[in-house]
């Protein structure tokens, strides 16, 4: 009995390795190889490229990687919760711009004193993200507008709107405009890891909290089950008394709330003010989308993927010194997303074929033995 059970556990582990971990590894390696081919084909120093990318990061760079990964992970969770329901929230980009802008204005105004300001700002940023996400969600539910198209439009509107607000209601700082700086009493201390490097941003912890919350919500709650059911089949969900339209609204709201948090670690950790382009980091929404795909929408996968993407981006800063343009890692990032999806599709096809073969093999004696 126990032997059989051990065999089953063994097969499960083998299956997990073959059909989940192996495709991911293959995809990452394939993306790195593809990038190396690009570097080699354009006559850039391939040796310097490989050495730099695979070198151990300095203490300072390690901190940067963790900080960046926290923001990427938050953005990825915002995208992933929608993916699980079959929604494409390309609008994370716009939602976190709006969240960052609203949060920065609120924090800078200093309405709430001291550390409490941090908490209040997070709520404001989340709320702004929800409002922005709701535009796309309501258009989707009431008018049948594709959330992808409306999100693309809303991303640009968000960017222009934030620029307009900062220019007209912010402060002049040199050649640009920014929101008022937050008071020192509202600036949290970070986590010190190395003596010779800056601290990890305090709010990087948000990524961990959201990650645990995400895993719990999807895996252990009724709501998470409803969400995944709706993602698998909207008609099946409807037949089980789940209102898919309500689900779209709720999930987009959660996604928008998480998106509102994306830039907060950097805001409270180092910039303390908001202004496009100097005091803001654009593009995290799209990076998050890629990481959600890479991490197969699971908490662990996203954690790993965000560290990988942050690692690639940070290492690339030193590529310039060996004569390779740092933009090359964006090729890696784009290709890895394609590769991971393709690898999983191939793994799925192989699995299906093997299972069909296995079933055919098991049925074989029965069919030949049966009377004609």
């Amino acid at each position: 009995m126990s032997g059989q059970r051990n065999g089953q556990v063994g097969r499960r582990i083998t299956q997990a390795v073959t059909y989940s971990i192996l495709p991911t590894v293959v995809a990452i390696v394939a993306a790195l190889v593809a990038t190396s081919i690009v570097v080699w084909a354009t006559g850039a120093p391939i040796g310097g490229f490989v050495d730099t990318m695979l070198s151990v990061p300095s203490h300072r760079d390690t901190i940067i990687i963790v900080n960046q990964a926290s923001m990427i992970a938050l953005s990825a969770f915002a995208a992933a919760i929608c993916f699980r329901m079959g929604l494409f929230n390309i609008g994370v980009e716009g939602q976190y711009i709006v969240g960052a802008c609203a949060g920065a204005f609120f924090a800078g105004a200093g309405i709430v004193p001291g550390p409490l300001n941090i908490l209040a700002t997070l709520v404001v940023a989340m709320f702004a993200g929800v409002v922005w996400a709701m535009i796309a969600a309501i258009l989707n539910v009431t008018r049948g507008v594709s959330e992808v198209i409306s999100a693309i439009m809303l991303n640009y509107v968000a960017l222009t709107l934030a620029g307009y607000l900062v220019k007209n209601y912010g402060e002049r700082s040199g050649y640009t405009f920014t929101t008022p700086k937050i008071a020192p009493s509202s600036q949290p201390l970070g986590f010190g890891l190395f003596a010779d490097a800056p601290d990890i941003w305090a709010l990087a912890i948000l990524a961990v909290i959201v990650g645990i919350g995400y895993a719990f919500l999807l895996g252990w709650t009724r709501f998470g089950f409803d969400l995944r059911t709706t993602g698998e089949s909207r008609t099946a969900a409807l037949a089980n008394g789940i209102d898919p339209r309500r689900m779209v609204l709720v999930v987009m709201a959660i996604s928008g709330a998480i998106a509102g948090l994306v830039w907060m670690p950097s805001f409270f950790g180092s910039t303390h003010t908001f202004g496009i382009p100097e005091y803001f980091q654009r593009g995290l929404g799209f990076t998050g989308l890629a990481v959600a795909l890479l991490g197969r929408n699971t908490s662990l996968g996203i954690g790993f993927g965000s560290l990988l993407f942050a690692f690639l981006a940070t290492q690339s800063n030193r590529l310039q010194s060996v004569g390779v343009a740092r933009d090359v890692v964006e090729i890696t990032q784009g290709v890895v997303v394609l590769m991971v999806v393709i690898a999983f599709e191939i793994a799925r096809r192989i699995k299906v074929r093997r299972e069909q073969e296995r079933v055919a093999r098991e049925l074989e004696p029965a069919t030949t033995g049966a009377p004609a």
Partner: protein
Amino acid sequence: MTILASAPSAIRQYRHLTLVLALAAIVTVSLVRVFTDQSRMTTPGTLRLALIAACPILLAGLGGLWAERAGIVNIGLEGQMLLGTWGAAFFAYHFGAWVGVLGALLMGALGGLLHAVATITFGVDHIISGVAINIAGLGAVGYLAQTFFTDLDGGGPRNLSGYAVPTEVTIPGISDGARWVSEQRWFLISDVAAAVAGVTTRLSLLTILAVALVAVTAWVLWRTPFGLRLRSCGENPQAAETLGVNVYRYKYIAVLISGAFAGLGGAYLAMVASSSFTTGQTNGRGYIGLASMIFGNWNPTGVLASSLMFGYADGVSLLSDNGPLVHALLLLLSLILLGYAALKYVGGERVTGLVVALIAVALLVWYLAVDSVPSDFTGMTPYVLTLFVLAVASQRLRMPAASGKSYRRGQAG
């Protein structure tokens, strides 16, 4: 029989209506121009700028149309366009203007090929593949520019200038005559003359090519057996397969053409809209192209009309000191919406009509309350307009039935 007999008359009636609406639009524009005394609304210069801004959007939109008619959603247009800007600059710098155009077509098609392999052969979700191509395309263009342009004369790690561009032509008699008429500020006549002058003065050959491609697309897709088969892959690939159409091949061709069109749009940006290359030059025009395709209801002429409108908004945002002009456009938009609301209300869609009327009145109040609109809002116009149109008219738009769906050979059973 009755259906067959009534169809042509319905079409004729429809065309009649379109003509009346177009005429009404021109009259409204002219009225607003005279009333607000914003002559810059329809000068040859403004309209020429609008046309130049419209062409890249048009080419991207047509590219999107080709792919979607064969059932593939191409969000990667932005990345393919970016590749086109680099291809145009690189090949034009070394081999001349038209080789540059060809290079842009090839680079765009390369991006299209990537999308085709991922979506058609491997069944990857179309949006995922498109997003990946946009990320990779941006990186590739930045990388290629720095690698190949840094040491060139007139080049830098992020830009290149000093390459040949396609010739510009001016039609001698008409250009000057129309310009003179447009300067007289006559009601209606001057506005039409300004449009004529705008398209006959320093017209790039690439512009002519872009507009010609609208006709070519319409003819190939709707008047040839090849086009019929291609569109059948976008409507019902299983049915097409049972009729012996090689669906994979048609989809591949369509996505390659789609990428090439987007690449051509990139060439237009790097050669006509500006005579130099910079990284990230597309600035979201691939996405607006996609919007113009939806706005144009997946029809070539619709794409042309909507990209001209987006191009106008884009062109106006480039004019200096455009606050009062945008202010005047607010009145125009409000009037057009009022007209649309009236049509809807009479047509029986009371609620939609009332909502649109409400928005029109809000715009009118805004117009009356201020003297000038911040220029930031002009840049927003195409996006807000698209959202608005989608919200109001999404039920009337019809995309190809199988667009965005995965297809595997042998599904037809």
